[in-house]
């Protein structure tokens, strides 16, 4: 997970390694690692929050433990994969209409 985040935030292979030390504190690997720790802690806290509030489900399944968490995550995975599949069919170079 941390690897993913780090690689996502720092895809600058073209930059020399020395750059990272002098670069903005926010993009240093150490900061990004801490941000991930804080983020995961917050994620856990929102799920644990389900113990402290009383949900009023409309349909049943929306009252399951951590519903917002798993449903939100699953929806995004489906949407991204769906978009990628559609992209295979419909993506063109961005000069397509210029010709």
């Amino acid at each position: 997970m941390t690897d993913q985040g780090t690689s996502g935030a720092q895809p600058k292979q073209s930059k020399p390694a020395a750059q990272t030390a002098s670069d903005h504190w926010l993009v240093r690997p150490e900061t990004i690692r801490r941000l991930w720790i804080v983020f995961i802690a917050i994620l856990a806290a929102t799920v644990l929050g389900d113990f402290f509030v009383e949900h009023h489900p409309h349909f049943g399944v929306d009252g399951t433990f951590g519903f917002g968490a798993w449903y939100g995550f699953a929806s995004c995975v489906v949407l991204v994969l769906g978009a990628k599949a559609l992209g295979l069919l419909l993506k063109r170079p961005d000069t397509y209409y210029d010709n």
Binding site: K12, F39, G49, V77
Partner: protein
Amino acid sequence: MTTSLIIPPALILICAGLTLPLFALVRLRWLVLLASPLAALWIVLTLPDGIHLNGSFLGQTLVLVKIDALARVFASVFAIMAFAGGLFALNQKSTLELSAAFVYAGSAIGVAMAGDLITMFIYWEIMAIGSTLVILSSGRRGQGAGLRYAAIHMLGGVLLMAGVAGEIAATGSVAFTAMDLSTIPRMLIFAGFLVNVGAPPLSAWLADAYPEASWSGMVFLSAFTTKTAVYVLLRGFPGTEILIPIGLFMVFYGIIFAILENDMRRILAYSIVNQVGFMVTGIGIGTEMALNGAAAHAFTHIIYKALLLMSAGSVLYMTGKRKCTDLGGLFRTMPLTCAFGIVGALAISSFPATSGFISKSMISDAAGSEHLVIVWFALAAASAGVFLHAGIKFPWFVFFQKDSGLRPPEPPWNMLASMALMAFFCIGLGLYPKPLYDMLPYPVDFVPYTGAHVVYQLQLLLFSGLAFFLMLGLLKRTMTITLDVDWLWRRPGHALASFLDRFGVYTWEWFADAVVRGATGVRKALYQHHGPKGLFGRTWPTGTMAFWTTVTLGAVVILSYL
């Protein structure tokens, strides 16, 4: 109730737009841009409910200025938007764009305060002209997009005019009240409204045209066309069930195309369709809470979408770049623009404590209360998708992501000030929604901040965020566009038009050539026979004539004996 003293707020902005080129002094021009929306806003907010100005046209009594709660929600946010847009665009050098934008904004207020179908239609068409000019004024790239935009809106205008004419002929009344889809004219009116709201199958006009406007032009464009369409649907077709699937289609279409998009402002254009989809769904559900939710969401959406587009517009203004692949790392030198963009992104995602949370949750809750199970689950999935495609994607790829090496400074003070104003509204309404709830057409019996609600929303959004960062590899931007329905008229349609053009020219040339050849032939033949040397033109000796006379007479005599 009729008074003649009232100045229509719509006319204040339209006159400001039309006279703007006359003000040569820059400071005077600024005064017009800032004072006229505030004057319009003041009138909208202080005018009591009722009809304030009548007119007469073709034997019909027109209601030129009418206001009630619903009209006030839209007219006031349009005026706020004109002010913030004007402030943002003070540095815009194109007078045409600013003039057109103010005429456009004024006519949007005109639609919101129109009390009859004819007045509504007239303002509707002025809007189409104003918005087309805003797009065309951006230069070469805007030309083609502007013409395509104009063509689609002319089609919408024709549908609407046919519907309005039919409705008046059938009922004898010009009143603009709630309708059903029982007659053909009403279906045509409905279709005309749907074109402007960005409904399928023509949704592509929006993402095609808006991003081709200038850095300030798109801020204006994002606010008025689709939201006046939401307004007329709220007034004319509340509870029309077909709007639910149409709205849900728009919601997911917007998300999926935005996920694939590389142009930062086209991402936001698709997300307009997505957000308007929520409103259209709410109108289709049609309960008081759903209609309140649609109106409230239009109000908050105009503000946070303008904020997002101001943030993107500032980046475009300072860097000249619009593609995610060219941008990144701008938070270093544009921290305020980045922070304002993030506020807009949180608001569009309906984060608790932002304006989106207190409006969108009304629509979802209305679906839940009506036990519309598919609608509720679809809207929940879409709420997660909004955070993914706009809430994180826009700020991430523009301000963070990689270091693009660009180090642009912050934009001028007026652009920062307009972003600060919109960010203030986003957070202010999120924390204290009462002023907006009090404006809504129906009494609000809705508490957005319950523990369950906040926990659920945070789970939904933060785990969408987790999904985003885990799937970052899949979301990497590429130098691509995604074909949309506009492909139909930009490729096969264009090919057909050029074929017909060439075929027409060829046919005409062949026909013209044939006529010329025929005429030349006739002239030559006449010349040959009747010219100076022609058989019938030359002078003949008397003997020849006597000979032929004898031959003819002989023939007659012989024939008479047969």
